[in-house]
Symmetry: C2
Subunit: 505 residues, 2 copies
């Protein structure tokens, strides 16, 4: 009673619910023709012109103007190819060119051609990283990259890890793993069955630490904030005081978040001293090296993270200093007991079948809080293969040398003032227009200078650099250097341009 | 005392820390040449061959074999272009072709050319969606897509939303927003200051609900699991019993997760009746429509989600049924009080400056738990523009008609047995080889059939379809239909192939 073997080839037409089901309905020739027309636009406009120092960094339009220009509404009918191609051109035109050599606005920048090819490949393949069965290449490259990063951190016994959608999520992983390590019951019973948990971080840490405390049910009040010194580094003695305070209150201190490369100042917390305190008080030591981790690639600069090998977990984003492209965020633990899996697993039987024909330890998706997950490690792996560890090191060394050059130039120029000597590639400085240079208590008057200069540079499209107030300091510029496309000429341009845009203020 | 205007053009060489800083060090001509060579490989191998029904779905290698083939190690030196191009070819060759018409393995599939172009654009532009300043086009397209999806859900007063890295994370958002709505103090004080919170979900829900409860500190024991009926739908009376139980225990019931399109069976919980119970007991109603949300596009099938307009929040992944490409996951709330912002914000002053020159309400990043965030809505927006609402509707209608066809074919064939009539495009069925057809208590014997057939199809590379045990049911196949590339011929092929691979068992 076997079904009859039907002849191969086209079968007779079948209509179900008014729909003809024979043959595919996507017209592949039309799709090919669209892609053939679209790809040169992307390469020319979004890759080459977008990274050309002679082109604009941005083509500013206000939200209201841009809404009109883009015609955002989604309608019943579709549009023809020429119109869609024009939409592609417009989307590119009005986007900020984050790969432009003069985009200094965030902790990521630049364009690496190998990473970009890796990204095009993964977008075309469209994998999800739960199981080896559907993403063999991408799970193995993820594992290889994690093992190499763990080696570079210096965990000689090895470790485990997972790529996550952002450093903020990596820091959340750290909080969850740390509390599970202290109180494994939390996974099942929840926090209402536990004493009040307290975690520690410095005043200069990334804001995601507060978000993690809120999201994970710990509460932002239970993040005890440790003062930093003038350079932005956590003060170890103050850390220990806060631990004692939590204990005196009857709370359960369980982890510290140390920052290696703070967001604004680029400061590195003293990891060795923090590790000593963690050992004395049995605290989980997490290092948020999302930004500063890049320095680990450099023999010359990795001293900035001295002691990171003593951390229990590390977050490190190669999409920042190492230019792997957004997003590429590793969360790693110094653990060989399958902690990630135990802490996060839910053992979905429809996905993580145990009766598969291959070694299911390669189905690493249950370590993650995500289900579908993008192959963020592959582009980094491909770039690393292409330029080697040495190539990554040279980029980091050059970015730090460039920051040093800029700092010295700032010291030479009238009207520019460093906030502090840079330790990493965050160069923080004020610009003081001539009219304000001789006033007493300057900062109060300079406050509005950076926002106006920023507005003018964006409307001109000449460059983008961030600014912010910080503690008791008025708005200052934060210049970030990453890309090998950036040259000394761009540093000179930056200072010339700020002066030229702000000298009338 | 202004800095002298330096001449434009090349400046004298500058050496800092042994590094020459003049000019860019990335060789753009070399980059161009690499991309020129790589792009045809990607288009040919990862797009056209990968979606060609005459090619293989996968080229199976065991983890050990593949590790050898890929040469994963990351070394000190880089590699030349020909070698990197070969790595690209290998990565594509050994990857599963999830856009292939015979990839039926997950709740996503297919390749849409407009979405793909959208993805290439965003990868080239490399934006991060925190502020209008750095991602104007992508924030506005996100807003437009969210508003349209909210309209389609039927929230006539409007709502708010954010794209997230996966449906699991969207469900976490729901839990966090729901508890914040009930207990705003939780953000600051944490769960240790609150009564025990209890949430509800059906036994058929996605495993991310358990992950959310663990991650957010609620505890998996505080997820009260509601029995489903034989079709996989939550039983409303049982839901209300569980609410009463939580109240009797002195706990605080705060939310229900209703599922519209369950993972295995494709079942839809009865939203109207669930909404009635939520109103009676003041519970937040979240609908996980990650998979089933696609049916909202169809006038014919949207009755499956009747009542969704009464939900307080909805998770809906256009990367599944609507083929927007991984990832594309909207989390939406029926709220006009800025709840997302209030619940998640941390007001980082270095990023969300309030003294900017444009309307900072467009800086929506602080609604998110992420900091850097990918522009996942843009590709969907571009595809929607190209094929229109009508085009999306036609795809959904066709996928459901195809599932209907397959179910009828299964009923006609000996040795095939439906687990149940499909309501969506999950077609669940057993294959029973001739040798086992006449045995009593079949399922026990059929248990090993699906894993062996799956192994054989993967080693052959002819197709991929998932299987799982479920409740008291032995391993059955779960066929998923999505792509307009899939035809009636592929359905016939599926059944022929399973029989041919398993008839000797």
């Amino acid at each position: 009673p076997e079904p009859p073997a039907e002849p191969k080839g086209k079968r007779p037409p079948v209509l179900v619910d008014g729909v003809t089901l024979n043959g595919p309905t996507l017209d592949i020739r039309e799709a090919e023709s669209f892609l053939r027309d679209a790809m040169p636009i992307i390469m020319e406009e979004a890759v080459w012109k977008a990274t050309d120092v002679k082109e604009k960094v941005c083509e500013w339009r206000s939200p209201e103007q841009l809404k009109d220009l883009l015609d955002l509404e989604l309608r019943e009918g579709g549009e023809a190819h020429p119109q869609i191609l024009q939409r592609c051109r417009d989307a590119i035109r009005y986007s900020v060119k984050t790969g432009h050599p003069r985009f200094f606005n965030q902790l990521y920048a630049g364009m690496d051609p190998y990473s970009l090819v890796g990204r095009f490949i993964t977008e075309a393949i469209n994998p999800s990283l739960y199981t080896y069965e559907v993403a063999p290449v991408f799970l193995l490259t993820e594992e290889a990259v994690l093992q190499k990063m763990i080696e570079i951190i210096g965990w000689q016994e090895g470790g485990d890890g997972i790529f996550s959608p952002g450093g903020s999520v990596s820091n959340m992983y750290a909080v969850n793993v740390a509390r599970y390590h202290h109180c494994p019951d939390v996974k099942v019973l929840g926090l209402s069955a536990l004493p009040r948990l307290v975690m520690f971080t410095s005043q200069e840490c990334h804001y995601s630490v507060a978000k993690a405390a809120a999201f994970l049910g710990i509460g932002t009040n239970n993040v005890y904030v440790i003062p930093s010194d003038k350079r932005g580094k956590m003060i170890p003695a103050e850390f220990e005081k806060q631990v004692q305070r939590a204990k005196d209150e009857g709370a359960l201190p369980f982890m510290v978040n140390a920052t290696a490369g703070t967001t604004v100042l680029g400061a590195f917390d003293p990891l060795e001293e923090i590790a000593d305190i963690c050992e004395r008080h049995n605290l989980w030591m997490h290092v948020d090296a999302c930004w500063g981790g890049g320095a680990l690639m450099s023999k010359k600069h990795r001293y900035l993270l001295q002691g990171i090998h003593r951390a229990n977990s590390v977050a490190w984003n190669p999409h920042k200093m190492l230019m792997a492209g957004l997003q590429c965020c590793a969360f790693m633990v110094r653990d060989k007991t399958n902690l990630l899996q135990r802490c996060h697993s839910a053992q979905a039987s429809y996905l993580f079948q145990q009766d598969k024909f291959y070694d299911v330890s390669y189905d690493t998706g249950d370590k993650s809080i995500q289900c579908s997950r993008k192959p963020d490690a592959f582009k980094f792996w491909l770039m690393w293969k292409a330029i080697g560890t040495k190539g990554l090191e040279e980029r980091v060394d050059r970015a730090l040398a460039m920051a040093r050059y800029l700092a010295e130039e700032i010291k030479k120029r009238d009207g520019f003032r460093l906030v502090m000597e840079p330790e990493y590639t965050n160069v923080c400085f004020w610009y003081i227009p001539p009219s304000l240079r001789d006033m007493a208590d300057g900062p109060e008057f300079w406050r509005n200078v950076a926002p106006v200069v920023k507005e003018r540079m964006m409307k001109k499209g000449s460059m983008m650099v961030g600014y912010q107030p910080h503690g008791d300091k008025a708005n200052f510029f934060r210049q970030i250097i990453i890309s090998p496309q950036v040259s000394r000429e761009d540093m000179d341009f930056l200072l010339d341009q700020i002066h030229s845009l702000g000298m009338d203020l």
